[in-house]
Symmetry: C2
Subunit: 247 residues, 2 copies
């Protein structure tokens, strides 16, 4: 074990564009000797990597990346573990801290937060998240569908604005349809729904539709879907949830 000068920065790059990165994220990347990340995310910062060791890996090797980062930090290196969005929201901060703690590695870890997909989608759609909001991932890779379904039911009943992360993949094309059915039991068919794809990246699309018509929108792995609460409305293509001010 070598605490030395080694450390891991767990960095959120935000949705993808440089303009949404924080200054803290830029500084942490500059300060790092090694950059580790899923190849697509490393590509987003390719202009910042001169002189650095770069370890780009395939999808779904999250634990492997955490382990590598911790091992390199133990040799005294400063390591940037990069990913999109906020590493603290469905990201790498959890497994990294867990591994470090459970294996008694005692590596210094700094979490560098980033703009999460919900915030970026909100800005592109208008102001959908102005009132109490639930974030729910539809991915069943790590969570049983029964748990996801229960949360959808209760979020719909609670009248939360609801942001669906990982709304669809090839392995589970029907969950988004099931989610819609659950919300139809508690919301009008005219409830605004926002679908944002490739936020802040090439091919960016932000569409405001309704619960009735949402399945006509193209929804994929890179999308975020926002379902309004009972007070949400739309005007000029913008999706607005009232905060409650009397205008």
């Amino acid at each position: 074990m070598n605490k030395g000068a080694g450390k891991v920065y767990c960095i959120g790059l935000g949705p993808g564009g440089r303009e949404q990165m924080t200054l803290q994220a830029l500084e942490a990347i500059k300060d790092s000797q090694v950059i580790i990340g899923y190849a697509l995310y490393v590509e987003l910062i390719s202009d910042l990597l001169a002189g650095k060791e770069v370890i780009a890996s395939a999808m779904r090797q999250e634990l492997e990346r955490c382990r590598q980062a911790l091992e390199l930090a133990q040799t005294g290196k400063k390591v940037a573990l990069v990913s999109s969005g906020d590493p603290g929201i469905y990201g790498m901060a959890g497994p990294l801290l867990e591994l470090n703690s459970r294996e008694g590695l005692d590596v210094t870890i700094e979490i560098v937060p980033g703009l999460t997909a919900a915030s970026m989608a909100g800005a592109l759609l208008g102001a959908p998240l102005m009132h109490d909001t639930a974030l729910i991932s539809l991915s069943d890779l790590l969570t049983p569908w029964e748990v996801i379904e229960k949360r959808l039911r209760l979020a719909a009943e609670a009248d939360f604005v609801t942001v669906l992360y990982n709304p669809k993949s090839n392995g589970r094309p029907h969950y988004i349809e099931l989610a819609r059915e659950i919300f139809m039991q508690h919301r009008s068919l005219q409830t605004p729904v926002g679908v944002v794809r490739n936020a802040s990246r090439p091919g960016e699309e932000a569409l405001v539709t309704t619960l009735d018509k949402m399945l006509l929108a193209e929804i994929d792995m890179t999308s975020v879907v926002v379902i309004g609460n009972s007070q949400s409305w739309q005007a000029e293509g913008r999706f607005i949830t009232p905060r409650g001010y009397v205008l």
Copy 2:
């Protein structure tokens, strides 16, 4: 009505420190001729204001600020309406877009997202938000307590990690106690609770405690409180919610 070159940037400064601002927010401030905001937020960017018209106002004049921003944009000016956090989460984006739409002003508005308090608190506490999360404001200025209470009950039942915004003020010191009682019906007393005050500002404190002991922590208007789900745990003062990886 004059669409001209006038526009309103609705800008999120993030939690407070310059290092968590995005490059987009910095650019939008630079591009603006007029800066409007609550005095405390304007103070955060005092070094960026040379040569600009500055309109700093007292608390709770949100609608007045929106109206001023829209009026100035109608005269052809570029106006930055600044606030902390993300303007799309309990912020100014909603009332600004609503006023613009309801009064038919047709002013160009660009929402510039910022790091919300939940993300910053998460990074300071560890990794509490790694699974499905609800954001609930305990402020009853614009929302009846009955609605807030119902959402707390359903969030607790759904096993959401729950982030409480505006947890306490002089006018409503007891809501945080009521919220705790609701969660005690669904969570163990040892559930981790994080309390973050003055995130990314002078006097920053991030404390990890438990549902049992949370009322011993100093909680005020500038705080965010994070209550774990049934799987959350703490180690070395860090609050971790598992994502579900088998380590």
